[in-house]
Symmetry: C2
């Protein structure tokens, strides 16, 4: 039976009251006695502005859960309105379920108030510590895409998403509205966005609040939604929002039913709600001549001078009492029946949805063995040629086939799957798209599990939502453009770090980026496509949640991906190449190499790599080729010099153990690099990444690190390497420099190499192509160099 309208009203009064109490009070939280200054928290923290709207929505969704038996997962974009989420979680008993100290009693509420914004307590914004929460909301823009990620491949799931009108100004949110074109009503769940127009951001009206109803309707219809505008500012005590939510659910169910029954639903038009309310609705209208309710002055703490200003103090007490708490809580502080009646029972509560702690839903991915996909290198290192990404794509194709029944694996990509030569997977699944497409379009279907859109923000948000609800996936992208989601990565890394500290959370699958079409082979697209900085950003994050891998060939890539698709709780970046390239290691060797993270490649070293006078280290596919070519030239030209080649696949082994969990003990580090031996390190990315990792290793200044130094344009691959000082010939010259004084390693040899390099560059300027010496080089053939 539907509750009486005043049931919802009482519930909202209780939740709003609690949210105010959490911001202001540490004692007398139910206002059993007159408010005294010592009941106030000494520091007032938290944001009131969006709380009433969150609670309006929560109450309406509760009615939906109760009346229709629909389970609802809630993503709150306005995460700074956390006091409201806490209030609702407390009222529905979810807080008590996870922590008996937060029981539905006066004592429990006091404890909640004291913990809110306290050191070691709950942070001011949403966080993984809140049950049912998928999204922190501190940095704006990512709620809607996250909600879609939670809905893909989850038939029967309804994901409600509160989008703030501040957040709605961001680019990522503006793009995320288009996600509706990718959501299959048959194999997926539904997303119900509630755009919360409360009118103001921190200090100004929001863009959306200044838009007319006609503009709002046009905009969202244009995006593909069926919007309805609900004005709760005009009728604050009405059930309009509840009605709109119930109507929306009916429309969703109808759409799903039609699509599920095989009816062709062209341009499936999902409902959405635009909720107009006053900013901080319910706050004092005006205090000290300053308008509060309905203005940006209610954004954060609406009465900031309450400790010192008697007028504000009186206004606070009047505000709290305006909710009539004495009617809402019984003698023990338990919410009265009229309030509780709104809450769904037990596991049906919004905060108790299993998808809100996706780790508990997660099942390990059904991975095929890598053996049948491995490249044979029977003729020894360099004897086979393969595109690492193509090899990986074949294996991933089988991953898609195996997961057809479970539908728990996806690839997100900014329209680069084919360009990155991973399109083997399209033999097993399509690109998910529901809007009608031209007949010549290839590999699109509503139920496809590849998501391609030219928005890295959508890709990232979708994948986060998908992983956080217990599924698996990878994000292949042009390396240079991964930085578009630097900031999303920052926030997700924080989420993972915090989630690992929450005792009841189960770990979710790691988020793995495949950084490909790497800069060294973007010589054709040019300078804008050359940027390896994503690794640097990842390395600044908490080391317990990060990994960086640079497999030098297809087999190491397979082994790495097989490992990372079993991994949990981390963000991993894997750099891989798409072009056919020489293969170095057998599968067994690749396994050993990956397990070690870095090893000596004896076959590429002189004197078996023992007791070296110089270490040539490399990380990344292209640097490995150049380093091997340089090693071969040096072996020929200065055969008496003892040179060791070291390849690094797990970059973080370079860090001192205290700085990263993968960090090698100093003894192992010295086994690879010696203690005083000069090391020439050819790194795939910016040298700064390696500079950082090496700091406080013994004598780090003996490492000469080379990499991308922001030289680039449209040119040939060799020219791009030489521009950055990392062609094989530059490496030989640098090595000779490090060996200065060593017999044979004379300056005139270096000069010959410099002249040779310059000749090659002059030649490629004439022909527009790299010389055969470069393009046809094969390990062991003894070609190349000034001879």
């Amino acid at each position: 039976m539907a509750p009486a309208p005043d049931g919802t009203l009482a519930y909202r009064r209780a939740a709003d009251y609690i949210a105010v109490a959490l911001i202001f009070l540490r004692d007398n939280v139910l206002l059993r006695e007159p408010l005294h200054p010592e009941h106030l928290k000494p520091r007032l923290l938290g944001h009131w502005g969006s709380c009433p709207g969150i609670t309006m929505t929560y109450a309406a969704l509760d009615t939906l859960v109760r009346e229709r038996g629909t389970d609802v997962l809630l993503v709150t974009g306005t995460g700074h309105g956390a006091p409201a989420n806490h209030a609702n979680l407390w009222l529905e008993g979810t807080h008590a379920h996870y922590d008996p100290a937060l029981a539905r009693t006066e004592q429990g509420l006091t404890e909640l108030a004291r913990r809110y914004c306290a050191p070691d307590g709950f942070p001011s914004h949403l966080s993984p510590a809140l049950p049912g929460t998928l999204h922190e909301g501190g940095e704006l823009g990512y709620a809607l895409a996250t909600a879609f990620g939670a809905a893909f491949d989850a038939p029967g799931r309804l994901v409600a998403c509160i989008v703030g009108d501040g957040e709605a100004e961001t680019g990522p949110t503006a793009a995320a509205w288009h996600s509706v074109k990718h959501l299959d009503p048959v194999t997926g769940g539904a997303v119900l966005p509630i755009l919360h127009l409360n009118g103001a951001k921190i200090c100004s009206p929001t863009l959306f609040a200044t838009m007319s109803d006609a503009e709002l309707t046009d905009l969202f219809r244009g995006y593909g939604w069926d919007p309805v505008i609900v004005d709760m500012a005009a009728a604050p005590e009405s059930e309009r929002l509840t009605d709109a939510v119930l109507d929306a659910e009916a429309a969703i169910t109808d759409l799903q039913r039609r699509a599920g029954s095989g009816e062709e639903v062209e341009r499936p038009r999902w409902p959405m709600i635009v909720l107009r309310s006053l900013k901080g609705q319910g706050a004092p209208a005006e205090v000290g001549g300053r308008r509060i309710e309905g203005t940006f002055h209610s954004h954060q703490v609406p009465l900031p001078q309450v400790h010192d200003d008697p007028e504000e103090f009186a206004a606070l007490e009047a505000w709290l009492r305006s909710y009539r708490p004495e009617e809402l809580f019984d003698a023990d502080g338990r919410p009265v029946a009229e309030v509780l009646r709104v809450c769904p029972s037990g596991e049906r509560c919004i905060g108790r949805q299993p998808a809100g702690d996706g780790g508990q839903l997660r099942r390990p991915l059904d991975l095929p063995p890598v053996e049948p996909y491995a490249v044979e290198v029977k003729g020894g290192p360099g004897s086979a040629t393969a595109s690492p990404n193509e090899v990986l794509g074949k294996w991933l194709e089988e991953v898609f086939r195996r997961t057809e029944p479970t539908r728990d694996f996806r690839i997100v990509s900014p329209d680069e799957l084919a360009s990155n030569r991973l399109d083997g997977v399209l033999e097993a699944t399509g690109r998910g798209y529901t809007w009608p497409v031209e007949t010549y379009a290839e590999h699109l279907s509503p139920d496809g599990r590849v998501l391609e859109v030219l928005s890295e923000h959508n890709c990232q948000g979708w994948l986060q939502g998908y992983l956080l609800t217990g599924r698996h996936g990878i994000f292949p992208t042009y390396e240079a453009f991964a930085s578009i989601v630097d900031s999303m990565l920052n926030q997700y890394a924080k989420w993972l770090k915090m989630a690992a500290e929450v005792p009841w959370r189960s770990p979710v699958s790691s988020l793995t980026y495949l950084l490909t079409s790497e800069g060294w082979r973007q010589e054709h697209n040019g300078y804008s496509h050359q940027g390896p900085g994503f690794i640097n950003n990842l390395l600044t994050k908490r080391s317990s949640v990060t990994g960086v891998y640079l497999p030098p060939d297809a087999n190491t890539l397979l082994v790495t991906m097989d490992q990372l698709l079993r991994d949990t709780g981390r963000i991993n970046a894997v750099v891989s190449g798409k072009h056919p390239a020489a293969q170095w290691l057998s599968l067994a060797e690749a396994r050993r190499h990956c397990a070690a993270g870095a090893s000596v490649w004896r076959w590429a070293s002189t004197y078996d790599g023992e007791d070296p006078e110089l270490v040539l280290a490399c990380a990344g596919g292209i640097p490995t080729v150049e380093t091997l070519a340089a090693a071969e030239l040096l072996a020929h030209d200065v055969p008496d010099v003892r040179i060791r080649v070291v390849n690094v696949v797990d970059l973080c082994v370079l860090a001192p153990p205290g700085r990263h969990p993968h960090g090698m003990p100093d003894e192992e580090f010295q086994e690879l690099f010696g203690e005083h031996t000069p090391v020439l390190f050819d790194f795939h990315g910016y040298p700064s990444a390696v500079h950082h990792l090496l700091h406080s290793r013994p004598a780090p200044d003996r490492f000469q690190v080379r990499g991308y130094v922001e030289e680039g344009t449209t040119t040939t691959p060799y020219d791009l390497l030489a521009d950055n000082g990392v062609s094989r010939h530059d490496l030989v010259i640098a090595a000779l420099g490090l060996l200065r004084g060593r017999s044979g390693a004379a300056g005139d040899l270096a000069a010959r190499y410099a002249r040779h390099r310059d000749r090659l560059r002059a030649e490629l300027r004439r022909t527009g192509e790299d010389p055969a010496e470069i393009t046809e080089w094969r390990w062991g053939a003894g070609t190349g160099g000034p001879g």
Copy 2:
């Protein structure tokens, strides 16, 4: 007189022909003889897909320039369609104007074809090397905001902006459509967007191409535009696009006239054009059973096997001849009159717009002297208190007043101006906004020169466009959220680096970020607001275009900003605080300190800082306070130890000179830090930034760098510092560790400090506030510590 329609058609044929030729040919560029394989370039690079649409637009805009006398600046979002831009620049004579080798002759065209995508030639995408170009377009999403930046405060300027339908999927573009709400029709110019729906991105249909006309119209009307859809696929030879452009200009002029005459134009509705065309329109319809024109197969090089496949080779020649080049070029290779008639003359050409090389328009900013704004510290270091941002805000207020006549200075900010305590400037100007707002909204007006929107992408794009057209501005932002534009910074840094290499380009004003509300004082907002990684990203860029400054107080901030607002050609980040804090240096001292970049603070050192046994280094406002407090404690507890305090304001002085132009010579570096002296470095951000800069300085491992290590939540400032090991007490403990074995610096003293720190943290957990020992600490008062 308007040209005959076939005039435009001939022009388009010529431009399309040239674009194909640039991609494929190195000889016989006018097809005077039958095509032979040796006429082909050995490597085929470039993108054809968007070329025809760019040329359609260019030709229509040319008509506008000729017929209406309107000067048009063009921003091409589809920068990979560069062959079309080159073709148009060559046809109109702009290429020849800047480089006589690119004359409008067969020889000139051959030279252009040979340079396109050649090493040392023109890159495959747009670049600063192309006259009239503001935008590279390799990374998608930023054209529209850039166009708005070029239009602000430029009455009479019409900025046409081609937005690709791939680009339109990005978040930044999706948000940028809202920019229309910020453009004042009186004090600004106009932006005319042409959304180019050619139907496909790399491998799939675009979202926009699958939208119905009704959806497109709804969407853009919702955003606030007045869209018209022009289908040039249906009528490829029509003048529909030209007509639409002329209509749009009339509507723009009318709107500007009405607004300029004082009429109140509510929700000024600017025209925009949706241009439907076939992808690669004009390419062969089908070759080898593969459909090319109108599909993604025409995205890049449409006939990739032309060297080896006779059918493709024949198709190429037929394609080229389909434009009938013999009708378009005279015997010298000069375009015939019918073609040339379309081009505006001389300086009116689209490629010759002065704003396309904004440095030549730039006038130095009229800056007020900083003296009247400086904080007096007559009582010595620490004797005065001020909010650095407030002080800066007052000075910037005067900058706004002085530039009222020239309107060449703006602040862009994601709604954080007041929060960052820079709102002093609102006394001199308002927030620019044209949509109607509620009466209680504060400081909004159409002609305001502060731009606030909750989209960092818009802020960045607008400012880039503004600076690139010769103006000035700054971008204050919460430090943690600056990373949202990491990738835009990457691309802009590349632009600046390349632009500096173009001989005819004049330098534009530097882009200066004010990174504020820094993480150390985001203890209230919590973990999501704590992230100093923007600095790390900036440091990976080309060092000739970057600077990082950490002024420790208000006077150093003033001196720094005064310097950077005169700076050109760079991207600078300045970290500054908003909270009232102790002031250390007089204005004269601040000038000396800033000039040096880093100096010994003798007054804070023991033994006058001479011959130190330990250096305490610091960079950043909060680290400076903690370091000074630690220095004071050490001076008290181990008075016999010689301790030097070094403050770093220009972070890049730490880099070896070869790595950054600000890098100190090794001798100066050693004068500050010694050669073997242990250094405890308290850094504002991630230690990795400093680790990188120090690499290959003498004995870098003696530097123990501390900073933010991704510990954080909502807590007190001291607790946040202690969590990351950088509270004053942690610094003392670390210093004692570095002094191990030194008299007085015994382990039990360190243990006392650890106990003291733990006591303070227990105390703040009880009270919710930092202890008075921390909040009331003043330099020189001798308080704090275990006593």
